[in-house]
Amino acid sequence: MSTSFKITRATLAKDIRLEWRSKDAINSMLFFALLVVVIFSFAFDPTAEESRHIAGGLIWVAFLFAAVVALNQTWARELRNSVLDGYRVSPAPANPLFLAKALGNFLFVAMLEVLMTPLFIIFYGLRALGPAWELLPVAALGTWALVVNGTFFAAMSLRTRNREIMLPLLLFPISIPALLAMVNATQNILTGEESARFWIVLLGTYNVVFTIACLLLFEIVLNAE
Amino acid sequence: MNSIHYLKAAYAATWIIHLTYISILYRRYRRLRREIDQLKGK
């Protein structure tokens, strides 16, 4: 048990350290999300009233695309210098590696969200009419939903011919319930029209189901040649 | 009577889709047969 924890912590620390030094993922994610925000604001040009209705969708689409950029990079780093092969050959169990990657991705995307949210508020003149604190569980659960499956599918896509397009192709259909939940929850909180409770429960269920599925099946994906 | 066009379109579309799939399978089969003949020839 404690070995797993140590492995997770070590791998996570390594990823954070690498990312902090190069800032590869965070820079490309940030720039991409910013572009999406700007282009959307040209495309939609909403008044304050309308913006509350569509902001939920826009924000999560921007984060989704940015997350895909990060997810594509996470495993690519392991392929260089055969780090992944080294891990497979070692007696270490597969799950700590997965958790570390997923947690790392979660931190990066969360950081992105923290940086981008003020921009969204400014561009769209947003103000939450419903309970704003509920946005935190929505963001946390929603991000984990994207990241846990994204990390898994990114590992799957490693062994395909067109890696970069395979990840979104696999991720988006499976994420539809989670996306629906995130967007609607955000919209409900911003407009204050309905409760986001059901959606948060759905996100929670989605997270539990797929985290377990990823942990159970990751070994297969890791050991695929 | 305009709605009859939709009925015809739906039935036609169904068979176009199925026949397209069958032709894809057939073409793959021909290619495979050719490969087998090549292998046998060696």
């Binding site: 319930p177 609607n184 797929f210 297969i220 | 939709y6 039935y11 495979l32 292998l39």
Partner: protein, 286 residues
Amino acid sequence: MKRAFLILAVLSIALLGFATYEGLFVAPTEQTMGDVQRIFYYHVPSAWTAFLLFFLNFIASVLYLIRGNDFADRFAKWIAVLVGVAGCIAAFAIKPMPYGIEPSSVATTALAITGIYFLIRKYFPDERTDVLALVAAEVGVVFCTVVLVTGPLWARPVWGIWWTWDIRLTSTLVLWLIYVSYLALRRFSTSGQTPSIAAALAVFGALDVPLVYFSIWIFRTQHPQPVIGGGGSIDPRMLHILLINWLAFLSFAALLCWARYQLEILHRKVEETHALEALLEPEGKR
């Protein structure tokens, strides 16, 4: 073998011809929708067939993942038996059934699940499980495409809209998307363990479907939308013809699956031969 295939082909074509004729000319005209409603005789059986095929893929994927693992194998066998037993008990114990579901269909479905599990396990061992999974997914996508094309063609003249985000349409679309991505993974994967990876994806897809259902249910509770396709009882003459069409499409699906299956087996044998050749080529001959 060849003979059985030909018999099935003739039977399928005959059934399809008969069923189509019945659907187009014999079935009574619907009161409110008119003749356009006859699309229903193609749309609904295709949907049922697609779902059945996707379910076959799911069972085959699970079987592929657990093969060789004794514990998982025994566990899965017990679950399969349990589903059958539970279905039969529920059919008799729960009265009345919610949503107007027939008790007999619950029992039949549960027993069918158990039956399908053990039949696939027995007659499609090892690699053949994977071939079955691939075949079921591919033919399933073909039928699902038919559903997604005929659906809007029915909706437009009758309800005035091409599409709506109701539960059945949306879950069918998501299922289609998941399985297209499944087929893409199969095609573009360079791994030797593609069958296992694809099987894992199929399991993910299966886990996703109830969540999609639930999410659309919440969505519609909060945003009521036009009800498409209604529930309610169906004229027994129409039901009769619907079932005939389903039988016809099922036998056609079986035909397609059989053909695709043989094709895949042949393809794999050729691949193996190529691989062997490459191995056995004498060193100097390069």
